[in-house]
């Protein structure tokens, strides 16, 4: 999926890219392509998954205690139990990844419907 993004890059980053002869786009594209929670949690022995960890660090920073946090907690628990079952019983990382992705999409649908519900409530008021 392609998106167009406008960024304001700081001088340090800009100069670093110029020095090492890479474009900001290439660098950021590499990072973005590697962010995957299903992959990260289904491949616990793969090291240096920095992109996903950076993303996780960020969400842990902005984590709020609200209604959505409850849904998130529920689906995190579900992902965890699905993954531990598959990894400990079958040790099949690919299967674990695809099952985790299914849960992940379910999670997405749950959040979207929660937000839609909220909007509808607001409209009907």
């Amino acid at each position: 999926m392609e998106v167009t993004i406008k960024l304001d890059i700081a001088e340090d980053f800009n100069l670093a890219c110029k020095i090492f002869n890479i474009t900001p786009e290439t660098f950021l594209q590499t990072i973005v392509s590697k962010i995957s929670l299903p992959y990260f949690y289904s491949h616990p022995n793969t090291k240096k998954q920095w992109a996903t960890m950076l993303f996780l660090e960020y969400i842990m920073l902005i984590e709020k205690d609200d209604d959505e946090a409850n849904i998130n907690g529920m689906y995190l628990d579900k992902m965890y139990s699905v993954l531990t079952n598959i990894l400990s019983e079958h040790n099949d990382e690919e299967k674990a990844e695809s099952c985790a992705r299914k849960v992940f999409k379910e999670w997405h649908r749950a959040i979207i419907s929660k937000r839609a519900e909220y909007l509808i409530k607001k409209i009907l008021k």
Binding site: Y41, M53, L56, M60, D77
Partner: protein, 252 residues
Amino acid sequence: MNNSNDLLEIPLEFRIACLLNNFNIQDVLQAYVDHVSFFCTLYNSNLPGFSEATYITSEYSVGNKGNRQQTDDDKPAINRLVAVKYVRQMVALSFKTQLTETVRFKQSKKMVNKLFSAIASFKYCPEKLYIDEESMLIFTKDFRIICEIHSIYPKPYLEHFMNKVSWAEAHARVDLNADTMDSGLLLFIKLTNGLGKLKRQEIEITDAVLEYIDEAEQLRAKHYLVRNLEQRIAIYREFFLEHYNRIINQNT
């Protein structure tokens, strides 16, 4: 059983917590002793470090009133009337909220000293305790008074504190934004954050150390899925134990 001749038993979790923070075990125990305040046992204090150390101590005192030893001489070790007088003074001081807590704390020192002098002999807590051939703890007046009043030896107090310290639990609770944390754990965390200005040991930067530092940083993200506190603590405990063993083995 609580013979002060037995060497102090240092629990593994406590050793792990000290090593991974480059603390000397003796320094941590001394910091605990130094922060136990008789004055703080008398009211609901809010003095960083002192409140926590005193709270864990009182927690043990309340549950474990020792059996007063039958001594050969009939003289009581503590002159009850004199002791009560000083305790009353301290309680009254604790109510003087027009003074800041730090000022009240400073003023309590005189009374603690007087109470200390009123105790004829300290049957329970000696001046010092060797925890191994090279390290010793020096007991403060406050600590010795508390041991004497409750008829409890220092060893059980120290062990009670040490049993509360778990680096795995500290991390798990912080990472999961747990609502509460035990005073013993809080005290240890405060020590890691600079309370008491404990010296950090100089360590050799071995591969094991580097690997630990590297993986410790990733710990929270790696286990983001584990929301259950007990499970998180268990996972972290395994992690820290493994790295502790690797670091120890590489050092020998």
